[in-house]
């Protein structure tokens, strides 16, 4: 049996950016068909590795060490030269890899054409075939649109298709599916693995989240501060017999609790939100969605993008009028209120979302938290300052300079700032929309704790919108599963986890279940 072909050999690779060390004496050997997952937070060194291998090194990067591709001689890693193997780069749609005014199809085809050295029409045909082979990917014509008209999942399929169309020797996957739901990640990872088996390319997959690492089940290199903490198979690293930092990371892996005691039922307490016969399609052919959320209770609307969960939440809050149905908030029918009156009712609603543009980027950190207090209450400056400080302390932002603008904050800080803004508003209802999307493992753990603390300390009703059952279970007691704008099933989350009635629900649960790493679902 022949030896596997060596694709890459890095020896003592060090990278310093503008004098700041980012990667320290990193060595790696990678063979054809092999996958290595680089796991770590931002600044752990994985970005520097991708920069060097992808040929994106900046002028201020000081690079030392050697790199050897396939059977060629080792050469200094700092030397800029065309690699003798075909390297494909798979970015995240979140990183906005496309130019805004050019159709995605044209941009993807150009990348493939450049890498293959072929005419554009041939590259487009290769791309079409690659998308067909992926199974589940949209057809080629869907990509003949500008990037803003495509959702992140479609873009992820397009990027994956363009990578496999290049028939690469090495794929550099740079947090490729960071902003997608677990079902989508699972499907895309399965497609990536299948193509890897077919084409035999080596794969370097950088991620800050544990789900891809657990799903790929490959060799994992845990990075921190530019250094390798440890290396090994996922199962061993997750076993608890690993470095303390690795253990901390793996503790952040969200796990479904099939035996979790039932929380406070949505059927107790005074009604806060009552929805009667809400039909999101509006053709009147089916029975609309009816449910009730009581004060202090929690309900998760679980479903993927396009399932209708967001439309339902918008209709419930009176942002959009549903074609058919009635919404009663705090004993007032929203359908009969004027915009001004609806606006007054909404003062008792807070929004916490995974969208990073939910806060005004021009506002300072302090102004963002103060605004609900100043807009709705007549408080002295001292009182406002006191409430603000308490809220910022609870979310861990009190040490930040309050005059910094939101635009200069990281995504994690922006999420926590949203919670602080919600805390000072003392809402009756908190709408939490994919709050952990795109965050690193550690940041996800902190956000989960901050939200749980908010819920237990202040007791607002929680309406959680997510495609991730682990998030739903962490933040809510009951769930409604939605698909194609229709309600599939509802009930306490524990009951749904134990006995999902619909295959779609089962798929959502399986997307966040990692056999061997977390508790597997009991036999259904």
């Amino acid at each position: 049996m022949s030896e596997p072909r060596r694709i890459l050999e890095l020896t003592e690779l060090s990278v310093a950016h503008a004098g700041v060390p980012e990667l320290d004496r990193f060595s790696l050997t990678l063979e054809a068909g092999e996958t290595v997952v680089m796991l770590g937070d931002a600044g752990s060194g994985k970005e520097a590795l991708i920069r060097v291998l992808g040929g994106f090194a900046e002028k201020s990067d000081e690079i030392s060490g050697t790199v050897r591709f396939a059977d060629t001689e080792a050469r200094p890693a700092a030397k800029r030269a065309r690699p003798p193997i075909r390297i494909a780069y798979l970015p995240s749609p979140l990183a906005q890899p496309f130019v805004g005014h050019v159709p995605v199809l044209s941009q993807l085809s150009r990348v493939v054409a450049r890498k293959l050295g072929s005419p554009l029409t041939t590259a487009q045909e290769e791309l079409r075939l690659a998308l067909e082979r992926l199974g589940g990917a949209p057809p080629l014509f869907v990509f003949d649109q500008k990037p803003r008209l495509l959702d992140p999942l479609t873009m992820a399929w397009g990027l994956l298709g363009s990578v496999t169309a290049q028939t690469p020797d090495l794929v550099l996957a740079d947090h490729p599916f960071a902003d997608l739901g677990p079902t989508a990640i699972r499907t895309l990872l399965a497609a990536l693995s299948a193509e890897q088996k077919r084409l035999g390319f080596a794969l370097i997959y950088t991620t800050g989240s544990l789900q891809p690492a657990a799903r790929l089940g490959a060799r994992v290199i845990v990075m921190r501060g530019g250094k390798v903490i440890e290396e090994g198979a996922v199962a061993r690293l997750a076993s608890g017999h690993a470095h303390a930092y690795t253990n901390t990371l793996f503790k952040a892996l969200p796990q479904l609790e099939f035996d979790k005691p039932k929380g406070r039922s949505a059927a107790r307490g005074q009604p806060l939100l009552q929805v009667y016969g809400l039909d999101l399609i509006g053709d009147g052919r089916r029975e609309g969605i009816t449910f009730e959320l009581r004060r202090g209770a929690s309900l998760a609307l679980v479903g993927e993008e396009g399932s209708g969960r967001r439309e339902l939440a918008r209709a419930v809050l009176g942002l959009d009028r549903a074609p058919i149905g009635r919404v009663v908030f705090d004993a007032v029918d929203l359908n009969v209120l004027t915009q001004t009156m609806t606006s007054r009712l909404r003062r008792r609603v807070a929004f916490i979302t995974g969208a990073d543009d939910a806060l005004d980027p021009r506002m300072s950190l302090w102004d963002t938290v103060d605004e609900p207090l100043r807009a709705h209450l007549n408080l002295s400056g001292d009182l406002v300052g006191g409430y603000r400080e308490a809220a910022l302390k609870r979310v861990g932002l009190s040490s930040h300079d309050g005059r910094r603008t939101v635009a200069t904050l990281s995504a994690f800080d922006k999420r926590r700032l949203q919670v602080a803004r919600a805390i000072v508003g003392a809402p009756l209802l908190a709408v939490v929309d994919e709050p952990l999307r795109g965050l690193d493992a550690f940041a996800q753990t902190v956000m989960r704790e901050v939200l749980t603390d908010f819920r237990t300390q202040q007791g607002p009703a929680f309406l959680v919108i997510t495609s991730d059952f682990t998030v739903a279970q962490a933040l809510a007691d009951d769930a409604m599963v939605l698909k194609d704008r229709k309600l599939l099933e509802r009930g306490p989350i524990v009951d749904i986890l134990k006995s999902p009635r619909d295959p779609y629900t089962k798929g959502l649960i399986e997307a966040v279940t990692f056999p061997g790493l977390s508790q597997s679902p009991p036999a259904v």
């Binding site: 005004d360 506002m363 605004e371 994690f412």
Partner: protein
């Protein structure tokens, strides 16, 4: 995904340009405020020196046809032009930018009507608009006319900036949590104008200075004995070929004033307030 936020950064070049611009405007302001002390002769004083004398030690900028000291005249003219431009820029910002921002939050029909009306006015060259306003009022109101002529463009810019913000995701989230339209307007006024007031003011200053001096050059603006730089350049037309300094020094002062204002706005679209 970064856990800690990166430190905010400011573009070095634009900061440097702004500093140079505001420094220059500061020096002009000092020169203008001390013009009575720095000038060798009072404004319009004829016969101070020989007629059309070239720049010399006694008269660094030379003299004009009436024997007026051009250094003193240029300082007085700069003082008049800068003062009028300041007044006109204030009018452009208040009537244009501020009103535009508020108009974007008015009821939709009214807001769109105002936007359309101002859009039509903005399509008319500001110089013609200023001459029209002067014709309808008096030469005395040239600064007001220049401000009003520049206002439609300022209105459109202010309106469009606020409209973009009002359609943004963060504004929708704010409305969804009961933040009133008045609070959102306060946000826009605070952040769009407080943070950009210096730039907007500098840009408006450059724009109205050009309008004012051109109006004066054409004879619709300042009237003797009050002379601004535009009028001085116009008066030098007769002798320019024989005595270049009569037009060159007032023109240089005008160019410096406009250039400093543009630099203070980091060279951002000088003709538009």
């Amino acid at each position: 995904m970064s856990l800690t936020s990166p430190a905010p950064s400011t573009p070095v070049l634009s900061t440097a340009l702004r500093l140079i611009g505001w420094g220059g405007l500061g020096l002009i302001a000092v020169a203008v405020s001390l013009s009575d002390f720095l000038a060798h002769a009072p404004a319009g004083a004829a016969g101070v020196g020989p007629m059309l004398s070239a720049p010399s030690e006694a008269f660094p900028f030379g003299t004009d046809l009436l024997g007026r000291d051009l250094l003193s005249e240029t300082l007085h003219g700069l003082s008049v032009t800068a003062g009028h431009a300041l007044l006109a820029a204030s009018v452009a910002i208040l009537v244009g930018g501020l009103f535009g921002a508020v108009a974007a939050r008015l009821p939709r029909a009214l807001s769109l009507t105002l936007r359309a009306g101002m859009g039509v006015l903005a399509a008319i060259p500001a110089l013609l608009l200023a001459i029209l306003v002067i014709g309808l009022t008096a030469r005395l109101y040239a600064p007001l006319a220049a401000g009003l002529a520049a206002a439609p463009l300022a209105f459109v810019r202010g309106y469009d900036r606020v409209e973009v913000q009002s359609k943004s995701t963060h504004a929708e989230y704010a409305r969804a949590t009961g933040i009133a339209a008045s609070t959102l307007l306060r946000r826009d006024l605070t952040y769009e104008f407080r943070d950009t007031l210096a730039t907007v003011a500098a840009r408006a200053l450059a724009a109205v200075t050009i309008i004012l001096s051109t109006v004066s050059f054409l004879g619709f603006g300042a009237t003797p004995p009050s002379r601004d730089l535009g009028l001085m350049i116009a008066a030098a037309k007769a002798n320019y070929l024989q005595a270049w300094w009569t037009a060159a020094f007032p023109a240089l002062a005008l160019v410096l004033l406009i250039l400093c204002a543009r630099l203070a706005a980091a060279l951002g679209e000088g003709e538009r307030p």
